[in-house]
Symmetry: D3
Subunit: 279 residues, 6 copies
């Protein structure tokens, strides 16, 4: 994460939520009234979003004091106090919703990633994300996957080449496509090839694709195809894998499993803000 | 939705996804190669996102021809062809992911809203959303709720006043808070008050709050409190209501039920893009 | 007002005014030279713009000390010292014009609003603004109206529904239009209907429009129509009302009078910046 | 004016006005309904804003046909049809307010400039604007001044040097200040010096300031000081001059009169949009 | 390159150059006057920037007809006509400078890259760029390097890991640093290690860094170190290599040579725009 | 330079370089680890970019302490310590590249300007820049020219009128073009005319163009034409002048020489960042 991008994004998000004024707070409270509040976990999970809390309130009230008690990636239990903030009451009430929306989603992604690793229960296989992230939130969701114990697939289209069925169908063959790309590609960028038959896997191996992905394959197929992929080439299972069927890929020997659901169908982690009774 | 804001947002989202170039497409295909593709529903649900498809591809290839066969809010079945696009192959492959990420999410929200209405099975109660939307996507998610048959709660903090427990605790009493706000509030803006006891409901009624919300109340409480709210005041149940327990609020007589899950914990609707075999 | 939006807007306004450098200051003064200046009211009126002064100079010189002696909404007299700033002389001279342009306009709006209330001299009628604000400055002008003692009409097109003559002419009838909108509209959003004949007023009352506006009506008509509007429906006179004829609407009984001139034809309040003789 | 900047600014202004949707239009009219409307002058004046109308509607409805019958700078009479637009009814109704806000203000500036020239009634003296423009609208207001027959003073702080009383007081003397600046200033940039006594005028002449401004001087003083300024140096009267006292500066011989009121205290020109009865 | 990003960037660049108006063109030519112009190479080199010409003029005059006769990467000779544009004369004259500034620089980068390949005269070694690009122009310069026959090093800091001397000095050892990073890094991202001694090279080989860079090493050292790097690991020479000493690295056997000068010290290719004599 | 624009631009440049995260630093170092580093000149030249260093690191680590030992425009020698920074190690390593890219380029421009003045060796002639600056970096490059001892030509198209051969060819004659422009141009803006024959020079003199430019003329022609230009008109030689032939214009008597190469073909000044061995 980059703090200055967090600041830039939160600016946009706060304005989207507020419009021109939080009328409720503006009309109720004097401009200088102070208050104190805490963020409390209402269910257990993996927390993620420390910088969002810190930067968010600082943007709304430069003088506010914010203490986040835990670190991104830490497990929280129901009732845990995640953070406290003292400062202008208008700033606290105005900022509450956007900050919660962000940290609940980020913590939801981190929690789901950790849950996937737990369900898979095979540390020889690593869990990664996809490009199926929420538009506008890629930085946050990729980071949350890392905090949950997963690793990132490519982050942008210029950070890696992936030749999918559509590319290959249009171009002709895996072999020709990989050679064609390789002649123009820099040495820091990997090539991944999507395959779904043994023939395709072998063709990808022959042309030494850096990563060979098995698309929408059964655990059995994944296990069989993985055996065809020699080191240091990397194998990846992808497509149609969710928390429900993830465990069936245990011990397939594949190197990576990528999960779109980590970011496209997230359950927010329940966190709430409570004002402190007295100041 | 506003087309020019869709355009502005997609600009940001495409750049977030692409970086500086879709190297896979750039390296494989000549700059002018044409192709054709279709969007296909892979499960049934309520579609939402026509403008995103149209504007999205138009931004990447001004000459592309896009036909969306259905309208926002229409039900699609597995296998239905939602839209087709003919144009530059690089544009199609580069734009695919972002456009899918948007329409899958919007359709997910619309589908979940329609499902909620179905589960509630009581047309005298209306379903609405909250401000628990994805940061950056409020316009799209609020619109998707409307397409799914729901209505919107306030869209921004300056579009309505809501006095929550935190506000009231800090300020003193419902009655004083409402009077205080009312003296400064314009005539086009409503005041909603959050309550959780009979006493609070009665206080809100006394001061003629436009909307009285019952926070985290059981169906029984909602039913009892609703009876205390005379027309034209509006009653709303909120907090802790999900698709799992929604049906239990049937026939409570309440006017509105607001659901945070419609936007904070969405399951994307599965839609895919397939290149046409031959051109 | 939201401080972070003020900051974002001032960034744009300063760059618009400065270009790449305030050559006059850069060429005359050493980069670290300090100075002190005061803002002085050159005529009496209602001041508005405290945050603009504070945030503006802080953006140009983080170390500057700014003291604004009064509060938004306070009345100033000719010669009053509104604020003082100590800091980098280049920052003071460079920032002067944009900050004055903002606070003179905001104070002009606040002053005109207060003047309208005074001229109307009937506290049972409230003065409100319209959407005829300066493009880019809605937040500031709506806020200034509040500081002058007025209230705001809807702030954005998604914050309220107004069915004008054009809408109704195209759609058919007031009754059908209101019913049509109501079936899709959330419970936090009001519907206003523009009318100009007794028949239209009665139709709007029949369909229980939340607000009924009398467009370009004489004081007599306003008085007559208002009697047709039962509580809790709200009546509003609008169109063609200026400070010159406002007093003629006194005692018409109408709830609201909206004035476009408050924001589209403002006289700036005269305020100047004076350097202090010695440091 | 630059069309691409108009487009960029209108994007911001439309979003400011609309929020996420023009609910009134969205709920009333089918997405494809067409309509026709005309802009009509409701009072006489100098029109300005052709590009705003053309670009504005084109942004909201690419297929709309817009015809502006007159040219920026043309005089309109009450009742004149300025422009017509045929296209999507939602686009017309949604765009109306922002476009009117822009062209009414621009036409107001142009009209006021033309009125000033008429009142002064001395073509040997030219009327110019100042930097007292509306923040965010400098391009439009400077252009409107040109359309009204005036000329522009410097447009940005890097487009000219002006040494005001504050600069000179802090720096020491006119002579030293001008020499100091001149040694670092490019040959395309002029130096103006603010003066208010005969002594200062003479000092400015001695050091050959390109433009010598008489600040807050009476017509008599302006006449006297102007005689001290030899060609090709240029004399300018500024400060405290409004449409009320402008005529008293006739025949003073001064080259330029700058008027802050042209942009800081504008009366909008009344223009309205009317839907055509039938399609 | 992404067309929509080109458009967004050119918007910024045109406004930077123009300010509020190209006064010279606005004051000289009627708003509709047409003209024709051609871009002519004034020296030989590799052209790059087709999209900039096409999008640039289209932004300034939607109706203009632009024909670029050659393709990015083509060699031009002095006097070659690169492109022609017919359209509004104001648009042509206003856009000329920014478009030339862009294509001269891009062509300069492409030409320098081609020259480097020619000077090296060893096709077994590939030439690549660095992150020493002009701030704001990375997309254009990375693309121009590809057009000149080179390949790209990592494009952003999240597109590859490079452990430089500073990283390693602070962290402890190459081996520990690589292991540490590898445990958290996704499978699509490579690790490069900077080395400058045989010992460091061997350590990087031992830990199987994907790319091993020899920093500021002589051709002899590069040759020796390269022999220590087994396939599929990749060797790269970097630091202090310019067009003057590049040939001395011929036949060193290294895989890659990266050149900062390709983007940080570019000589623009001389291209000019000429109006056609008659219309 | 304006600090708030530096901040805004650096935000864009950092995000361009980083993407979503500096993975190398994030994976290696704890979030709070501190370090210290110095900027060292690796060759002699004129330094420029103090504010970029100060603002840049402050943006990445608000708590960092930055000391720049010298001032913009100072000469540095190889080995000089330009600045030191203490703070978060991630911030230092992440920010290094962008800050170096900026200050190396700015110092390159300043150094080249100083070198030009030295080569010309005739203080009666001033060196200025052109509009051939790097798109996006005009503020920085114009400032760097000033720091190197040069002066600026017009900064934007609305900051001065220049009538080039293309303008004049299309319009008819120098005399008519200048008169036409002058009638609409403000008194703070100069008119420059491009000439290349004695006849054109005389025509420009006759019409009293403020600046008369000799385009692509030999030193002899420049000397001859200059004699035709009486005070206070200013003469300028431009076109085809580089550091290689600049000295041949010594003693031509011309007032100004403008050099495009100062900004379009810059050699970066070599500066590097070194971490301090121990903390």
């Amino acid at each position: 994460m980059i703090g200055l991008k967090v600041r830039k994004d939160l600016e946009q998000f706060f304005i989207e939520d507020i419009g021109t004024s939080d009328l409720s707070s503006e009309f109720l409270f004097p401009i200088d009234e102070q208050a104190e509040a805490v963020f409390i976990a209402k269910e257990s999970g993996v927390f993620c979003g420390k910088e969002v809390i810190e930067i968010g309130f600082q943007m709304l009230d430069e003088a506010s004091r914010i203490e986040v008690n835990i670190t991104d990636g830490d497990v929280v239990q129901e009732g845990d106090v995640i953070a406290s903030v003292k400062g202008n009451i208008r700033a606290i009430l105005t900022g509450e919703r956007v900050i919660l929306n962000m940290i609940q989603r980020m913590s939801g992604v981190a929690t789901m990633t950790a849950r996937a690793i737990e369900l898979l229960d095979d540390t020889s296989i690593r869990i990664c994300d996809t490009r199926k992230t929420t538009p506008g939130l890629r930085m946050y969701e990729k980071y949350a996957v890392r905090c949950g114990g997963g690793v990132n697939h490519r982050i942008t289209l210029d950070g890696g080449v992936m030749l999918k069925d559509n590319h290959i169908a249009q171009f002709g063959s895996i072999e020709r496509a990989v050679s064609h790309v390789r002649s123009r590609l820099g040495h820091m960028t990997k090539i991944e090839v999507e395959t779904s038959t043994e023939e395709e896997v072998l063709e990808a191996v022959k042309v030494q694709a850096d990563v060979i992905m098995f698309d929408n394959c059964s655990p059995k197929e994944v296990e069989a195809y993985t055996k065809l992929v020699p080191e240091p080439l990397i194998s990846e299972a992808s497509g149609g894998i969710t928390l429900d069927n993830l465990a069936s890929f245990r011990k397939t020997g594949v190197n990576m499993i990528s999960l779109g659901c980590l970011t496209h169908s997230v359950q927010s982690l329940d966190i709430s803000l409570r004002m402190k009774g007295e100041l």
